[in-house]
């Protein structure tokens, strides 16, 4: 059982955001809202072909257009976008950029996907820039292309890079991601039951509401970039490295950001292109992406194909899991391509071999729990099916087989998963909603229930904070956060107020500007509350120590306190958030329509700093999971390599009418780490969703849908 947490004075109480009024009055300033004197507008010309060599680019007609101020192409802009590819999931390591054989430039030749930037124009307004793009003449030599990630690894597939289509890792090795424990072959050999199956997941775009926009301005040799980023410090370092500048010569500002959802804790090509154009034109430049450009030019969740072999004893104990998988990275490896799931089960014999493959589709990258929802869908659909075949209740099967320690028998800081599952099953009324015989409702509206669970990484680590107190008694907290939606600046303010023992209103929070704020880890990996929160606590303690030693400041005096703690775990301990989702669906077997009738998300994310925002995070994650499970998909025309569903409408992200009420039950705990025991939260709310919904659809229909998304067409095709 989770120990009851000790209530705190400021932390843990539902609190509206400190900038809520700015958000509801239109005063919140996003990157595209920034306008500078003499500013130009820029647009990007993109490849219409999935794979082609540029023989020649003629920009003379575009340059001749009145109002055009600068044009960049691969010929006059050779900036390498370090974070854009060939990262193996370690994009902040400068040495990787230096050694990699597979560089991604801001403008590439050959172009490797529909949407690869070919040229960019800065002009007096966006209409002139758009017209100039039409006057650029590009002579392409078509190259053969490959779209499917499994086909890409066959011997006859067109090679996207000279080294082949198995992505190189950070050491230039074409090696798959491999994970092993125990002896899988032996365990499968002795297993009483062996099950095999194949699951697949689709490309799902982050599709944050704010399309990419960036304003770049040079003052002498100093560059200021207003850009949407969840990590101003890392974004600045990336821009500086890619442009060959010292970090201090780059300032990154992000006051507000219209959604992150992954891979925004670094720079983007738009930052480099805008900076290059601004330098060339000698004027500030605002670069805007259209929604379609954002869809094909940014990134989304990597599609996967997953083959499982599972060995089970007569009593339902899982003894062996083998995973062979391929993930589709697009032509540049922006992130790892990994899949989570094997660590969910306690069985001593497991092996996963995942091949990240290049394709000529748009680039894959991190999206809310990068390895989780798709990996969990595969393995937890597989295990739900094993439970069915072993004639076991899925909840009992999970309680029997879930991992109670981390791999290598490393202990968790605390373990609340069983409590999450038991309390969830009771609140959800699992026994009543789950059908022992799948598909047994008479129809046409068939109900069924499914569940899935999570163990989500919740590490600790280094970040910084500065707090000042002036002679008027005003506290100012400087933190390098943006608040991409999770409420970071309010969270940081609450933590400071708690530790200082003052009301939140006494703490002014300064954020979103590298010239004013110290390093923060960036709002990715669900770690700002933990890591930057730690730093805020330590800075507050430093301030209190100084005041205790020297007294409070008077008149024009200011006391300055700062901290850059780098906490570590005790021994081999592993820290995780835990949770389970319980879903009831109603499937109309005549129309193929799935309605989520009941959705319960249970989670131990440690202590909640702001329960108001925490609940919204969990509900939002669940609804994103519904979109991924039932309809979102970036579909390609196989003949031409063109993306057909780029945009909100055709991709079908959830709307108000798709969103059921999400019940959220937090099982709060304090394991002694994090800021007051806070664990990771933001990403975890989505992780088990697709598996839970898919399992509910199986329970309702008796048919196992193994390929996401589970569209009406697939349901009708299977059940008609």
């Amino acid at each position: 059982m989770a120990e009851p947490i000790t209530p705190l004075k400021t932390v843990g109480h539902p609190t509206p955001r400190i900038d809520a009024v700015d958000r509801v009055t239109g005063r919140a300033t996003y990157s595209r809202d920034v306008t500078l004197p003499g500013m130009l507008y820029a647009r990007v010309l993109r490849s219409p072909h999935p794979h082609a060599r540029i023989r020649r680019i003629d920009t003379t007609k575009a340059a001749a257009l009145s109002g055009v101020k600068a044009i960049v192409t691969h010929e006059n802009c050779t900036v390498v976008w370090g974070a854009g590819g060939i990262a193996g999931g370690r994009q902040y390591v400068d040495e990787v950029k230096a050694i990699t054989k597979q560089r991604r430039y801001a403008f590439n030749n050959p172009v490797r996907f529909v949407g690869d930037p070919v040229a960019a124009v800065a002009a007096v307004d966006r209409h002139v820039a758009e017209e100039a793009l039409q006057r650029i003449v590009v002579d392409y030599e078509m190259l053969p292309f490959v779209l499917d990630h499994e086909e890409a690894l066959t011997p006859d597939a067109p090679k996207i890079w000279p080294e082949g289509n198995l992505s190189l890792d950070v050491e230039n090795q074409a090696k798959p991601l491999a994970q092993r424990r125990g002896n899988v072959d032996e365990a499968l050999g002795r297993a009483a039951h062996v099950f095999e199956d194949r699951y697949s997941t689709q490309f799902v775009h982050n599709a944050q509401m704010e399309p990419r926009a960036c304003v770049a301005a040079w003052e002498g040799d100093k560059l200021t970039v207003y850009t949407p980023t969840g990590g101003i410090a890392n974004c600045r370092h990336d821009i500086a490295r890619d442009l060959g500048l010292p970090d201090e010569k780059v300032r990154v500002v992000c006051r507000y950001m219209g959604g992150n959802f992954g891979n925004k804790n670094q720079n983007q090509d738009s930052d480099l292109i805008a900076a290059s154009l601004a330098k060339l034109a000698g004027a500030p430049v605002k670069l805007e992406f259209s929604r379609k450009e954002d869809f094909i030019g940014m990134h989304g969740r990597w599609p996967t194909t997953q083959y499982y072999t599972v060995g089970v004893a007569d009593d339902g104990t899982v003894d062996a899991i083998r995973l062979r998988a391929v993930s589709g990275m697009g032509p540049y490896r922006k992130n790892s391509g990994g899949m989570a799931g094997l660590d969910l089960y306690g069985c001593g014999n497991a092996e996963g071999i995942i091949q990240p493959a290049y394709t000529n589709k748009t680039v894959s990258g991190n999206f809310r729990g990068p390895e989780f929802p798709q990996g969990y869908f595969g393995i937890q659909s597989m295990m739900d099916d094993v439970a069915y075949r072993m004639k076991m209740d899925p909840v009992e099967f999970v309680l029997k087989n879930m991992a109670r320690t981390a791999p290598g028998n490393a202990p968790f800081t605390n373990f609340t998963l069983e409590e999450c599952i038991r309390r969830g099953a009771e609140l959800f009324d699992w026994k009543r909603r789950w059908h022992p015989q799948p598909g047994s409702d008479p129809g046409p509206l068939k109900r069924g229930a499914g569940m899935a669970f999570m163990e989500f990484r919740s590490g600790i680590g280094q970040s910084s904070a500065v707090i000042t107190l002036n002679g008027k008694g005003q506290y100012t907290l400087f933190v390098g956060v943006t608040d991409v939606g999770g409420g970071a600046k309010t969270t940081m303010g609450l933590i400071a107020a708690e530790e200082l023992g003052v009301p939140l209103s006494k703490v002014e929070v300064v954020w979103g500007d590298t010239d004013r704020c110290p390093y923060s880890v960036g709002e990715s990996g669900s770690r700002t509350t933990i890591m930057t929160g730690y730093a805020v606590i330590e800075a507050a303690r430093d301030l209190k120590r100084q005041i205790a030693a020297n007294g409070s400041p008077a008149g024009e005096q200011v006391v300055i306190a700062s901290a850059t703690p780098n906490p570590t775990m005790e021994g081999r301990k592993v820290r995780n958030a835990f949770g389970a989702h319980f879903v009831e669906v109603e499937v109309d077997v005549e129309l193929g329509h799935v309605r989520v009738a009941k959705y319960l998300s249970v989670a131990d994310c440690g202590r909640l700093i702001n329960p108001l925002s925490a609940k919204g995070q969990m509900a939002g994650g669940a609804i994103q999971g519904i979109g991924m499970t039932l309809h979102e998909d970036l579909i390609y025309d196989q003949r031409t390599g063109q993306p057909l569903t780029a945009g909100f409408y055709y991709d079908r992200i959830p709307t108000h009418r798709d969103a059921p009420e999400i019940e959220v039950l937090f099982v709060e705990s304090d394991d002694g780490y994090g800021a007051y025991g806070a664990k990771s939260l933001g990403e975890s709310g989505k992780a088990p969703g697709p598996a839970a919904i898919a399992n509910a659809i199986f329970n309702a229909t008796g048919h196992r849908f193994k390929d996401l998304p589970i569209t009406r067409a697939k349901i009708l095709g299977a059940l008609a």
Binding site: P16, A20, V21, R23, V24, T25, G26, T29, R32, T35, L45, R46, P48, H49, K61, L65, S66, G67, V114, G115, H127, V128, E130, E131, Q134, R135, V137, N206, A207, Q208, M209, E210, P211, Y256, M257, G258, G259, F261, S290, R291, E293, G485, G486, G487, S613, G616, Q617, A619, G620, G621, A622, Q624, F648, I653, P654, T655, H656, R657, A659, I662
Partner: protein, 206 residues
């Protein structure tokens, strides 16, 4: 030869004025088919048609010369500095740019500025009166409805139009009226709660 890959083949004005068939044709034009560069008539800033319009924005009357190709969103954001209206897609899919035109919610990205001639526009900046927040703004803040906040202005304007027409909606009424306002943070539950709370507030007709 140039083969523009985006929607740039067609001007904004043609796109907005085009019938559904035009839109469908644009969507299916394969970029592999030869497209002569600059097939459209190209106008520069010097020759672009302009029209002087009269428009009231948040109660303030303007007489202003606009380029015929400007959208209403461009007029509001770039010319009048009202950047509270957000552009999420510029093709009528997401609702972030929703404003009220003579009280009716419209997507300002899909409406030309010249069409606002003689009409009255309300944006998010015009919701608060005399320094007092609209009840919707109040409940949106209290219920933590904005996560990233980018869709919020549009959600507010659609919700204002709903409550003007139907002061006491059900949750289903709200979802139906708000179906054109996407929220990728998916804080839909909170938006519905906040709108119902505003409807229940004594100042709801404010």
């Amino acid at each position: 030869m140039a083969k523009p890959t985006d929607d740039h083949e067609i001007s904004r004005r043609e796109l907005l004025e085009g019938a559904g068939a035009t839109l469908a044709a644009v969507a299916t034009v394969s970029a592999l088919e030869a497209q002569p560069a600059a097939a459209q008539s190209v106008t520069t800033n010097d020759t672009v048609p302009r029209t002087t319009i009269r428009v009231a924005v948040n109660g303030m009357r303007h007489r202003i010369e606009v380029e015929d190709r400007w959208t209403l969103a461009e007029l509001l954001r770039d010319r009048l500095g009202l950047t509270g209206t957000k552009l999420g897609c510029e093709r009528g899919e997401c609702g972030a740019c929703t404003v009220l035109l003579d009280g009716t919610p419209v997507y300002s990205c899909s409406h030309l500025a010249v069409w606002a001639d003689g009409r009255s526009v309300q944006t998010v900046e015009g919701l608060a009166r005399d320094g007092r927040l609209d009840p919707l703004q109040q409940t949106f803040a209290e219920h933590d409805a904005p996560q990233c906040g980018f869709c919020t202005s549009g959600q507010l304007m659609s919700a204002r139009a709903l409550l003007n027409a139907n002061p006491h909606p059900t949750a289903d009424d709200v979802r139906a009226a708000m179906a054109g306002n996407l929220c990728r943070c998916s804080n839909y539950n909170r938006y519905v709660e906040a709108i119902l709370a505003a409807a229940a507030s004594p100042r709801s007709r404010g």
